[in-house]
């Protein structure tokens, strides 16, 4: 079997030569300096920073803090707005990497914002799939609210589906009592897939100032610290909901990628680990075949079938 066949995966709307992509918000619009260090054509796809209808300045500084085994961020969806993204960011990305599949992360405060943003992105011809961010913990209205209430989640998904011909992946918040209920709701709303997980809500206090380290007080926890929570949620959801899952949350090496597939993933995204290892993508892509040999995994598709078999047995 050829190397690329071993790593290739197929998801609704996405034929990927490998399952590995940067997570939203951790790679800007590909217009970062990592692109000087390795060829982004190596990536399975790219998920861009959240797009909102209007430009957003995001939260005040500081926005980033470190906690054991992870990072807290409260960037707050800073982005130049969907129109600038469509006029400058995406064309620049497409010009450099015409064959790199693009997943656009869509955020908003009200349903109408999401719908309009999704519509503009969908009809641009510059995007292969949408990732509906109903789970951002760092904005005060909207965002996570949609992600913690099954009814709003379902309605939002359905509303976006009516305006978008693209496959819609809904990105779930882990800050819920029952992740399966939310997954079921967005499935009922017509989602083509799920993205799991966004960050957990955390906080760090500064002993000197007696204040929260982040200006926004709380921030989203990402990185290795949350990996076991992501694995658990993906595993639980996959037993109950038959949608493909783009898995994320603390992935930092090839074994983590395979563990996510075992949990039920169809593709993976990497965020925080990029900051730790700037060459994480080439490293993981080089390690995957070796690790697959070690664990007797013929191909990722075969592994997915194996996992599906296990689920059907239950």
């Amino acid at each position: 079997m050829k190397l690329n066949e071993r790593l290739a995966v197929e998801l609704p709307g996405l034929k990927l030569k490998n399952p590995v992509m940067p997570a939203s918000g951790c790679f800007a619009f590909g217009d970062n300096r990592y692109a000087e260090m390795f060829d982004l054509n190596q990536l399975g796809a790219i998920i861009i920073k959240a797009a909102t209808l209007e430009p957003r300045i995001g939260n005040p500084m500081p926005r980033i803090a470190e906690v054991p085994g992870g990072v807290l961020n409260a960037v707050g969806l800073q982005n130049p707005g969907v129109d600038v993204i469509l006029r400058t960011k995406l064309p620049a990305l497409k010009a450099k990497y015409p064959n790199l599949p693009v997943i656009a992360n869509v955020a908003g405060t009200a349903e109408a914002d999401y719908v309009e943003t999704a519509k503009r992105l969908s009809h641009s011809g510059l995007v292969d799939a949408l990732e509906l961010n109903i789970s951002c913990p760092n904005v005060h209205r909207g965002g996570m609210q949609f992600g913690t209430d099954p009814v709003s989640a379902q309605n939002l998904t359905a509303a976006v589906k009516t305006v978008s011909p693209l496959p819609v992946y809904v990105k779930l918040s882990p800050n819920v009592t029952d992740i399966v209920a939310i997954a079921r709701a967005v499935e009922a709303g017509g989602a083509d897939g799920l993205s799991m997980i966004n960050t957990l809500l955390g906080m760090r206090l500064d002993l000197k100032t007696r204040q929260p380290v982040l200006a926004n007080q709380t921030g989203g926890l990402s990185g290795p610290a949350i990996k076991s929570i992501a694995v658990r949620m993906i595993y639980q959801v996959k037993q109950q909901v038959d949608l493909p899952i783009i898995a994320m949350g603390g992935i930092s090496n090839a074994e983590d990628v395979l563990e996510m597939f075992l949990a039920g993933a169809s593709a993976v995204a990497i965020g925080t680990a990029i900051f730790h290892d700037p060459l994480i993508f080439p490293h993981i892509l080089a390690d995957l075949p070796t690790k697959m040999d070690q664990y007797q995994i013929k191909s990722l598709t075969a592994l997915q079938q194996e996992v599906r078999g296990r689920i059907n047995e239950n």
């Binding site: 790679f27 990592y34 300045i57 980033i64 990072v71 961020n73 800073q78 900051f275 730790h276």
Partner: protein, 258 residues
């Protein structure tokens, strides 16, 4: 192009009670390691996920030699201080824009203003400009005599003016005192790095003088590579519109909002 290199610690010297010098060496030649640029240092304990931004305090690019000077402030820098020669450090660099010096010619008078851990990048700059033949004056502020470091380097590169808050060395006062007393209209470029208060002072004091004033900023950084939007600063009429890691850390005093 930034690159990641494994450096080996050659020397770790304690300069003051809480400031350390790390002399590092890698097998590769270094490119783009200019004064004012910075590196992101991986900590050898994965409980710490983020790399630490540190300025280039000195560099001999062809020999793969790099010096960093840091103050122990939090967990990461305290960990760095425990490391012994022979230990490996993985470093991403060189990042950021660096200080602009294209406008300078031999014999030009330049002023460097710094305080505390703002001094390391100015040490490298002083050396580079002195080599270029510029006349380098450095104004440095410290809290007290025992916190002074870098004096020899600056003295070797030109004039060194010193202030301490408590007057235990140099002039009693801050860099503002030095600026008030020793300003010369001959300076044709000013470079400043240090705590926010110092940068604000420099920005205000020199606002009316028509010469390029470069301020080197700090900001919490996730990536150092323009990917995470963790480090934004307001420049010109914009609001948090520039990445300190990409467009900075050096900004023009006329444009940046502190």
């Amino acid at each position: 192009m930034p690159s990641v290199n494994n450096f080996i610690i050659q020397e770790q010297c304690q300069l003051t009670a809480d400031v350390y010098l790390l002399n590092l060496k890698t097998t590769a030649k270094l490119s783009g390691y200019h004064p004012g640029k910075f590196v992101m240092v991986e900590l050898p304990n994965e409980l710490f996920q983020l790399r630490r931004p540190l300025a280039i305090a000195d560099c001999q690019a062809m020999q793969g030699k790099l010096s960093l000077i840091y103050r122990t402030v939090g967990q990461g820098t305290h960990l760095l201080a425990t490391l012994k020669p022979g230990v490996k450090l993985n470093i991403l660099g060189a990042l950021g824009n660096g200080f602009a010096d294209q406008d300078l010619a031999a014999n030009d008078q330049v002023l460097l203003i710094g305080g505390g851990t703002g001094l390391p990048p100015l040490m490298f700059l002083a050396k580079t400009l002195a080599q270029k033949g510029c006349q380098v004056t450095t104004m440095a502020g410290f809290r007290t005599r025992t916190q002074i470091f870098g004096a020899k380097v600056f003295q070797a590169c030109g004039k060194f003016l010193l202030a301490t808050d408590d007057g235990t060395a140099g002039v009693q006062g801050t860099v503002k005192t030095l600026l008030d007393n020793y300003w010369s209209d001959e300076y044709c470029h000013v470079y400043a790095c240090g705590p926010l208060g110092l940068l604000k002072t420099v920005q205000q004091q020199l606002a009316d003088r028509r010469l390029p004033v470069d301020l080197s900023l700090e900001s919490r950084m996730g990536c150092g590579m323009g990917a995470c939007a963790g480090c934004m600063v307001s420049v010109g009429h914009g609001n948090l519109n520039q990445h300190v890691c990409l467009k900075g850390p050096v900004f023009s005093a006329t444009e940046v909002k502190l």
